[in-house]
Subunit: 420 residues, 2 copies
């Protein structure tokens, strides 16, 4: 019996070897393999749903919430959707090989900057089993090998999905080791992966605070965090208040459990009375709990709970909205820069000059003028696919799709040039 | 007296505050301040040279090598060169604010991807005091605040240079805290910086193995390593052998102490007899020690020392060259991928098809066909400036200049769009 360390190192070596083959695969070969992966998911429907049933039964026995069990559960329709999404990725343009820049130096050297795969990408996630397919497919499309580490609650589903994808990849002529799933739920495996910079070029953790903290603390290779969003809307004194209400309601209630949902609304003093008069009842009607500063309570009534300092930095992921009256544009920006998470923030104003200042002064991955923060999403950006939303500033920021799963190299063509 | 922890945290907070102001500074304001920084270096010549003398005296007393003392020593000419380089950077285009992409979605949302500063950049280095100026200047140009941590042997010089640059920046209207130098040589400061992801967005370590290992082990934020180069040249069977000799001699002897110098030469069996017949004596003539496999010893004679496994992965930074005869192109690529450092590697061949295969299969930051690896350098690439050479694959790979010191954000202009 091999140790966990040996097991994880073995995965790393296999992925590294596969990544060299994958980097040489052309777009047609990769797309053909992706279609075979989609076909195999359908062909293996019975095995996958049987495996999923084990996970669901365990989740029920363990008393997981109805919402959590729903996220975990697969059925023929969800599996077909997964396969369709793979076929859609096969239809996207391949970023690998694209020439990003090209120039000739006075000494005649011709320099070409060209997109290449990153190599081996480790993806550590907690959530739904479809992430296994999404992550593996986007990595295969971009010529990266991937080592996947899913949540323990979906281990049987993940193993069955990864096995089907592997079979499809091999049928399409790609190396089997391009898609590897850590077959153990031992938490130590995450730390071992994070330490393996010899074999993993990038780790993407998608999940809660504890998971991300473990990865950040142990990682020796680059990490692109897909962390939380404390998204903030600022209703300016020059806002169209009907539009502001629509955007705030949409941001908070359309899907409260996601990272681009709204968590705080700031309202300029001049706009506050009229805004809260109409919008507070509309929020209450949708079941939203408001937590406000004293001024919000004065304007919107006693149904508003008093906000504490912690409310300004909390990602509720629930029907709760923090609300504050601000004295000025400057105070709004100061609040956003101090308390926000630099994910997605929004101004509602009819004043173009104010909006441009907001664009310049708010340092977030996505900054909105008169639109809902809910649009921070690869599909909504038109990227056709999304591995997640980076909350980091290096390499990838905001929605992360195919291009963000690539690196580049410089090719230099000479005729014997040497340096004097 | 404050603790070291408080001291470093204080620097972080000040840099973070300054970074918000710097991000708002326009190109003209930044360039004006850069010119004032250059002027101040000249105005403070006496203070800087006095401070430098203290470092040089200590270095002599400590018995540092002549080469090390030379690298440390400043004089009016070197100081003028430093100031001239700042003026050159002031003349470069500002990457900040550049629109990288712009498109409109079917729902009318207008998405603009625009370059922004990274924020706060920590730079940890060991070498010459001019790095203090280079790093501070490139960060100021790109609107980043910087926290500098130089080597203990140049602490007085670094403090004097940073003080002059700060004074210049302030005279030009930039915040004083945009350029901060850690005023202590306590090694613990590096670990504290590495843990301060709240205030530092990126750390760039430039130096030897021990320094880089400390940063990688403790860093919670992204790290872009400027690590070693085990650069390899492959002399193909279809090589012009005179060109091969010229490139190998240049790569090894023109400046052996730098990361883009050549460390290993691989020669195809068919080319090996003729190559070593002429090139081995030429290398010996330049004082190069050859360490070869048995075949190289057979061809180039007993002056060649036997190479051990360690020689294939050693960055000599000295007049030593490892040499190996390979059976095939495939063996050469396998050697490069297994033993190289993915920094700069080169093929010498007259066969374009072979060269293209080399470009495709060698995964290095810079891959050369018929040119010396010594060209891996920001100035030689035409970048006008260089913060160093990244040996990482994420965010920045190879020569790292102004663009690589930026991030981006998405600005989204709407007219009330909400998500259905």
């Amino acid at each position: 019996m091999t140790s966990l360390q040996d097991q994880i190192t073995g995965l790393g070596k296999r992925a590294r070897a596969a990544s060299r083959l994958l980097a040489q695969a052309g777009a047609d070969a990769k797309n053909n393999a992706l279609r075979k992966m989609a076909d195999q998911l359908s062909a293996d429907e019975k095995e996958i749903l049987d495996a999923n049933r084990k996970d669901v039964e365990k989740a029920s026995a363990d008393g997981l919430s109805k919402a959590a069990i729903d996220r975990l559960t697969l059925d023929p329709k969800r599996l077909k959707k997964m396969a369709d999404e793979i076929r859609a990725v096969a239809g996207l343009a391949d970023p690998v090989g694209k020439v990003l820049a090209e120039w000739t130096r006075p000494n005649g050297l011709r320099i070409t900057k060209v997109r290449v795969p990153i190599g081996v990408v480790g993806i550590i996630y907690e959530s739904r089993p479809n992430v296994t397919s999404d992550a593996a497919v986007l990595c295969a499309k971009t010529g990266n090998a991937t080592i996947l580490r899913g949540g323990s609650e979906s281990i049987h589903s993940n193993l069955a999905i990864a096995a089907a994808l592997q079979r499809g990849a091999v049928a399409g002529g790609l190396p089997a080791d391009g898609i590897l799933l850590v077959p153990t739920t031992d938490r130590e495996a995450v730390k071992l992966m994070a330490g393996m910079d010899k074999y993993i070029d990038l780790i993407i953790p998608r999940g809660g605070h504890a998971l991300i903290e473990t990865v950040v603390q142990h990682a020796r290779m680059p990490v692109i965090k897909h962390f939380h969003g404390v998204c903030i809307a600022y209703v300016d004194k020059d806002a169209d208040l009907a539009m502001a209400q629509s955007i705030v309601l949409n941001g908070k209630t359309q899907r409260p459990g996601v990272c681009n949902a709204l968590e705080t609304v700031l309202v300029h003093r001049d706009a506050a009375p009229a805004f809260f008069e109409k919008t507070a009842p509309a929020l209450f009607e949708k079941g939203v709990e408001l937590r406000g500063d004293p001024e919000v309570i004065r304007l919107a009534g006693n149904k508003v709970k008093p906000a504490t300092e912690a409310d300004w930095t909390t990602e509720y992921l629930d029907l709760i909205l923090a609300a504050r009256v601000v004295e000025s544009f400057e105070d709004a920006v100061e609040h956003i820069e101090t308390h926000g998470s630099h994910h997605s923030d929004c101004i509602i104003t009819g004043n173009a000059e104010t909006a441009e200042r907001f664009f310049a002064e708010v340092d977030s991955a996505t900054v909105y003028w008169n639109a809902s923060t809910r649009f921070t999403d690869g599909a909504e950006f038109g990227f056709g696919a999304e591995i997640g939303i980076s909350t980091d500033k290096l390499h990838a920021r905001g929605p992360m799709a195919l291009e963000e799963l690539t690196s580049y190299k410089y090719l230099i063509r000479g005729s014997g040039q040497i340096r004097e």
